[in-house]
Assembly symmetry: C2
Homo-oligomer: 443 residues x 2
């Protein structure tokens, strides 16, 4: 009988192994994709692309056992050669090629130059060719940083006693209501795709006190803007036994501090590649919604048209104000009007026209919505009725209040928006691997 | 201006803080849900439920400033009292209550006794009341262990150079084909819910060499069995530059070894609560599909009805065989018939009727499907055409082969099934927080 015992070391090595120095002057084997070939006559540079980065391999006629003409870009290869120090090469070394074994070959030449430092291609083209345009080293670095954000979010919350949960995305009814839901037939029943894990994460506060979920959320919004996606990744958490929604903002601030530290410590290469300056998140200003509107109206000489709404331009100006006045890329805007918040938001006991809620703006763009939720059964039923909603429609959600819930609150972060702002991208599609928008369902 | 600076220590403390011993004999504050009240006359036990576990609080008439009669089970409270060592209490301590502050109260009495050790309720009832039945300490422990499985999967792959990805769940076309897809209207276009991240994870191998994703997958299967869910969590990975599909099995074995170690080290309380014995995964036997059928037919005196298919009963017997003969709860069954595998599976060059693929059985149940994939453009086009499929339908997927892909393979693990087998549950619904089946769309 054959047995599988776990991962064995391969003969081929990675970039990090070479960089420890022990392979200098020795013959090594390495796999990778042929990122580009720069033929200089008798010598040529074959650049390998690996997950860890690029590797410069030197082809010398007569020494390397392969006809360079037959080598194609984007072939998968295994090379052998001697490692030599070379300051001008990536990671400070190069491989003097002896052999190149082709593992697999492309059928056609790439339609775009993915090996260029910056691809001079429109977003449209990049997205249409996403499966290959992501092979560009700078394009893919965005998503390595995105990985770091998600890791940081999870690791921090885990350290704070949160439990990870997985809740269904096919639901009987969306948490946010309204018309922006995708509908489907579920074995003859009407179903929707979850607009947020709101009901479920609140439910799980009754079970685990503190929970988080990283999962897709679906919004059938017809806007085709630079900041909307119809499917995006939600970083959600919900926590019980809070003293107020300030506890939720404090937890998010702690998570952001942890994320920025993790990026700095473990994602330095990607930060450098993309020339990213990490924002200072040691303290984040918090300002009331109504006060923020006033500050901006005053400083930028702008009329307040609607005291109960925030236009995208106003958000941008609030971001600018707090950057100029306090040097902060982030600002919590608190106490949003009740009308603008869902029924489960807790009203401010001091003024019922506002809620104990907040948005977090990052360089003038909303990246988080959160707040304290109603925990009392009678109160949530009253609020639903005052909005003409029928409690019977969401009986299984209301069950948690009927049988007791602690004071609690939470938030949802849009991962692609957070990444977009961190990278100073101007379109959220740049930070989604395979974006879904009104016109885009493929790739 | 107010600033938010991160998480501040609260005055209330957790179980772990008490257990460090420094609070013994001192007055502490603690929050929690009133799990149950056991009134013995002058003394009563008020059991608090916290995420970390249960805490025994002692109510003494005259000492505790609260009328016990007014205290309701499932209220959220903050208690203060003196910590005393008590061997018979959970975690070896109890709190002699001074005050109980009620933070929130239920509107009604629980319809099931969640504070019982084992709830004597049918699965039907438990699922209908899921939002509250999960408050049972043993019910919730299942999902804490599930968290550990997912953490272990991610942490191990991260350590092996994998990158985490997030791919869309609304897709133009499912990877597995067939009729078991949920369909929806996407702004006037026909769309489906992803049956697997297959196409996208393969695509990302061309970018990051090794990738993984933890995300929901959707299958509109009409079976109503103990092992099917219509939405479940897929633990997927895909890796490039493999020498064969044995590399994929080795990686899964490594992941399982890591997961079991993590559960043992950090989830001991839950393992004990649920009386779980961790399986030995130091080595996992691997047997060819055709050989497995023979072994089972011979040992259990069973006729081979169809040499190209494996019935659930046969899977169960294969599991039994390897338990009896080799003491293993797991077995890799390899070289599945080509007919039973999707078009992207790589055929065995030695016999095209079989593929370089495998399933992993855990106690006789398939918990993983994986294998090597075709990486050559012409080969995958040929295979599609031989099955009457039109390559034009999935052009954006075929793009990755056209422009070059390394040899690669991967797998998908069903999280709920893996958890189910680990816990020796007889129904997969037991290990899904909010299961979706043919008749169940709520809660």
């Amino acid at each position: 009988m054959e047995f599988i015992e776990g991962v064995k070391a391969k003969e081929t090595i990675g970039i990090r192994s070479v960089m420890d120095g022990t392979h200098m002057g020795k013959t090594v084997s390495m796999t990778g994709a042929v990122h580009t070939i720069r033929d200089m006559g008798e010598v040529a540079f074959v650049i390998l692309r690996k997950a860890e980065g690029l590797v410069q391999c030197v082809y010398e006629e007569g020494t390397t056992e392969l006809d360079l003409k037959s080598l194609k870009e984007e072939s998968a290869v295994e090379v052998t050669g001697v490692v030599e120090a070379e300051k001008r090469a990536p990671h400070g070394f190069e491989i003097r090629l002896r052999t190149i074994r082709v593992l697999s070959e492309p059928a056609e030449v790439l339609p775009i130059a993915v090996s260029k430092w910056k691809m001079n291609t429109s977003l449209e083209t990049k997205l249409a060719l996403r499966p290959v345009s992501l092979r560009n080293v700078r394009e893919r670095a965005k998503f390595k940083l995105q990985e770091g954000i998600v890791r940081g979010f999870r690791d921090y919350l885990q350290s704070q006693g949160f439990t990870e949960i997985h809740t269904p995305k096919i639901v009987a009814r969306g948490a946010e209501g309204g018309s922006n839901v995708f509908r489907l037939d579920y074995f003859g029943k009407k179903a929707e795709l979850g607009q947020s894990p709101q009901f479920y994460k609140q439910t799980m506060v009754g079970v685990f006190d503190r929970v988080y979920e990283v999962a897709p959320v679906f919004r059938a919004e017809k806007h085709n803007t630079t900041r909307h996606l119809n499917e995006y990744m939600g970083l959600d958490f919900e926590m019980g036994y809070i003293d107020g929604f300030e506890d939720v903002m404090a937890m998010e601030t702690g998570a952001l501090q942890y994320i920025m530290r993790l990026l700095k410590e473990e994602y330095g290469k990607e930060l450098e590649l993309l020339d990213v300056t990490l924002p200072d998140v040691e303290k984040i200003p918090a300002v009331r919604f109504s006060k923020a509107k006033e500050l901006v109206a005053e400083k930028y000489n702008r009329k307040i048209r609607n005291p109960y709404d925030l236009e995208p331009e106003e958000e941008a100006l609030i971001g600018r104000y707090f950057k100029e006045e306090y040097g902060s890329d982030f600002v919590f805007v608190t106490h949003y009007p009740t009308k603008k918040r869902p029924f489960y938001a807790m009203d401010d006991p001091e003024d019922g026209k506002f809620t104990l809620s907040f948005d977090l703006l990052f360089k003038g763009l909303e990246v988080t919505t959160g707040g304290q939720r109603i925990h009392d059964y009678h109160e949530i039923v009253r609020k639903m009725e005052s909005r003409g909603m029928d409690p019977a429609d969401i009986e299984s959600y209301l069950m948690i209040f009927k049988y007791g819930m602690p004071p609690h609150g939470g938030l949802g972060i849009g991962l692609e928006r957070l990444t977009m702002r961190l990278l100073d991208e101007s379109n959220v599609r740049e930070t989604s691997l395979f974006p879904r928008d009104v016109t885009r369902l493929e790739p």
